[in-house]
Subunit: 355 residues, 3 copies
């Protein structure tokens, strides 16, 4: 049976004001355009105001200024998107993991498990691992020796933690993520690359979310460190000894090279790259597919690349990019010639006056 | 024992004309350059015409216009590459999966499996999952609760489907792919990011191929939708609520941000990025590593970036890129000055006439 | 108990000169800044000379010229970073895999295993696979039919080898890597894309390291080939029929398209892309996030893209990029006009002389 709440209950749970019939029963969430009677929607962006005016939702979460535009009951919130996020938790019907240890799981006798953990089919827990209260470990997830997983954290199916990876409390780690693989460290030797063994670990703070198939390498000597409340999307590569400050957000397909230090509350958009050994201040924003090649000392937004164009136009301009330095020199030469001409003209004029 | 066909059988199976000895036995496929007697090759690109003329293959698939260049028997096809693709299916000797359910698989009693499925070692099938006829589920693949996998589809080893993921018929999903992980949705709250629970699902059409370690997130409220016949390469990130139209092709390392809508029969080359909430028309082509930052209303090809150069030259020009706006202003100023000079000259000339 | 060596033992094992008390006991490695008494550090980059002068390490690996700057015992090496790499192997305390075959592993009776292999929980070894001496196969790793894994190689947890993948000796393959999935080959047919079955395999040389969640596709007809001593970082995509020469290094998030041939000892920095069917000479370096769109005939360094800037400045310049061809034409026109003016002036002057 689906979840349901009355509007009055929701107002109380979300800490917002109810305008309309508090007894209205809400059975789910939907966008303004797709909502049906019985559903709750929200307006977080005034771009969708036209949708609000014709929504079939039974109620909407809105800021006070737009409550008058709603054709239905309202939950009036100072931060509608935040209230919607909290409502989404109430209506989440994802199946709960079964408590207990699946008989096919392989738990080392030297691992320490809280009483109420959920360990899925085929999960492997190594010697010396410590699994906190309420932790869920998904099917076929491998937790290496001497790892720690803090209370309330959830590792979905098919995650790998190598040895000595520390996960804080209340984290979510998605399927396919690999934490603690060797950093990419090699020294050139007489017969080719020689491996620098990676002796550090990985330290993940509390309340961190890590996306599917993301990789976070262990440190060479010190740990790779992800601060509290950091959110990381899918297919992100975080190299050895990177440090990411609390509350930063890293979107999909970002690559961060070794020993880069990212500040707190930074937002790195999709596909961006950050070279190694740089320091990025708190609150920096990096736009999509930008390459950060140096340190950034102050908050602000940074970009690189060129804007999209038709391939036909782009090709014409891209050819010119390779001539840009020459164009700049030609431009400077023209300026000098024109300055010369003017000087000549002034001289001519002066001479003319003499005439 | 390897597969073998006579040339006559192949002509019939491929629906093409046989020129040469129909009794010739063919035991495999090879490129024109590498082919040995007993093998079949093909010419799909006239760039390889020189290779055709000296190939040791026993037969080649060619267009009629090049049949005369072949030193061997020919299978004459109006579409040689398509005929080759079909021949590749005949000579595929990949080991078949064993039918039946491996004893180490963990199948929930509430799952519904067709009689002839193949479920590999350690595979996990959740409650309420429905697995169609002839489906192969590889080793350690995890199919979450309430998923549906259509007839004839194959999930290779180590795939994850979260709950409520729908796969159509005749799909191929490669190892490490993760479908239905949470979309990257968070609202900024007073104590940091608050998760927007992702209540939608993933809907994959029929005849879709999804590459290794590709990730397709579940929708926030509605489903993420991949149309029929879409082909997706490795390490592609498809965010929540993306919709991809029938027959589109997405090459490796592409990232598509949330709620982007891609048309039918689009081709997105490797490493390209598409920002969220844009609409791309049918038949659009995006070149490699291009960033698409806005909607595209009509078919056509789009690009961004700069062309490759030696680092020495590139550096000179890249420095100028940062001066480009100033250069444009200087250029405009020069034009104005020159216009001024000409006006002066004309005036001088007029005055001269007055003299 | 942690590893420990005397400085004298280390000097002998590393083949370097000991200056100071050879009886000093070393229990671990650390950076110059973080080192504590009892630890060994190193100076490989003179940028850290200030750290050397105040390090608390009991000993440091240094070049002879900097030995005088160390406040502690020295291991004097002509190649300090290489000596450090070798020391890192001595101090690696990663837990060893348990020898033997875990009871939950699924080993086909037709597979051939050396006597001393280690096969982890849930690992699957297919029919006809040959696993060499001292090989470690991690938990839930799937080795397909007819694969070969050479002596001393280690496949970490959750690796997939499809059928007929050949791994050389002394390789390391990290968690989540997928080798031998189908190349992305499709022919356009009347009803949409038709799959080109991928009949080749994957051939990996000796001493190769492959990062977490990296994908290497099988060849269409011939094999995809990775030479001896190649090192590949995380989340790299290597398409069908790519060939990479011995000793090349590929950093994270690189994508290499089908049939590209990379020379020996190339270094491809993070996020770069290489299009299909190109040939790259030995010793080529590609800088981060560069797109290589053509063949490169000689060693050298190549780049593309633009440098980072504040978004505000970048936007001004990026707008001009789209006008670049027009700017170039305006520049040429200005030059012509100025040449014309000068000619006129010369004429005027000549005429003036006539006066």
């Amino acid at each position: 049976m689906p979840v349901h709440y009355t509007l009055g209950q929701l107002a109380e749970l979300l800490g917002v004001e109810c305008r309309g019939d508090a007894a209205t029963v809400i059975t789910g969430l939907a966008t303004l355009a797709a909502a049906q009677p019985g559903q709750l929607s929200f307006l977080a962006n005034r771009q969708y105001l036209a949708d609000l005016r014709v929504t079939r939702a039974s109620a909407v979460i809105v800021a006070a200024e737009f409550a008058g535009d709603a054709p239905c009951a309202c939950l009036v919130s100072a931060q509608p998107y935040l209230s919607f996020a909290r409502a989404s938790a109430l209506f989440d019907t994802a199946p709960a993991e079964v408590a207990g240890i699946h008989p096919s799981a392989v738990v080392d006798p030297g691992a320490e498990l809280a009483a109420d953990v959920s360990i899925g089919p085929g999960a492997v827990i190594g010697a010396g691992a410590v699994i906190g209260e309420g932790v869920c470990i998904g099917a076929h997830t491998v937790v290496g020796p001497d790892c720690r997983v803090g209370a309330g954290s959830r590792l979905h199916a098919r995650v790998t933690l190598y040895h000595r990876v520390r996960i804080g409390a209340q984290c979510v780690i998605h399927s396919g993520a690999v934490l603690g693989a060797d950093g990419f460290g090699f020294a050139p030797g007489p017969q080719g690359w020689e491996k620098v063994h990676q002796l550090g670990g990985v330290w993940i703070g509390d309340g961190v979310e890590i996306g599917a198939n993301t990789t976070i390498d262990r440190g060479a000597l010190d740990d790779t460190v992800i601060g509290d409340g950091v959110i990381i999307d899918n297919l992100v590569q975080i190299a050895h000894n990177v440090r990411i400050g609390d509350g930063s957000a890293i979107a999909g397909c970002v690559g961060i090279a070794g020993s880069a230090v990212i500040g707190k509350r930074c937002t790195i958009a999709g596909g961006a790259g950050i070279v190694g050994h740089v320091e990025i201040a708190d609150g920096v924003h990096v736009t999509g597919m930008t390459m950060i090649t140096g340190s950034i000392a102050e908050r602000g937004s940074w970009s690189s690349g060129t804007t999209m164009d038709t391939t036909r136009n782009w090709r014409r301009n891209a050819v010119r990019f390779a001539q840009l330095d020459k164009m700049a020199r030609r431009l400077a030469r023209l300026e000098a010639r024109l300055d010369g001409l003017n000087r000549d003209k002034d001289n001519d004029n002066s001479e003319a006056h003499k005439v």
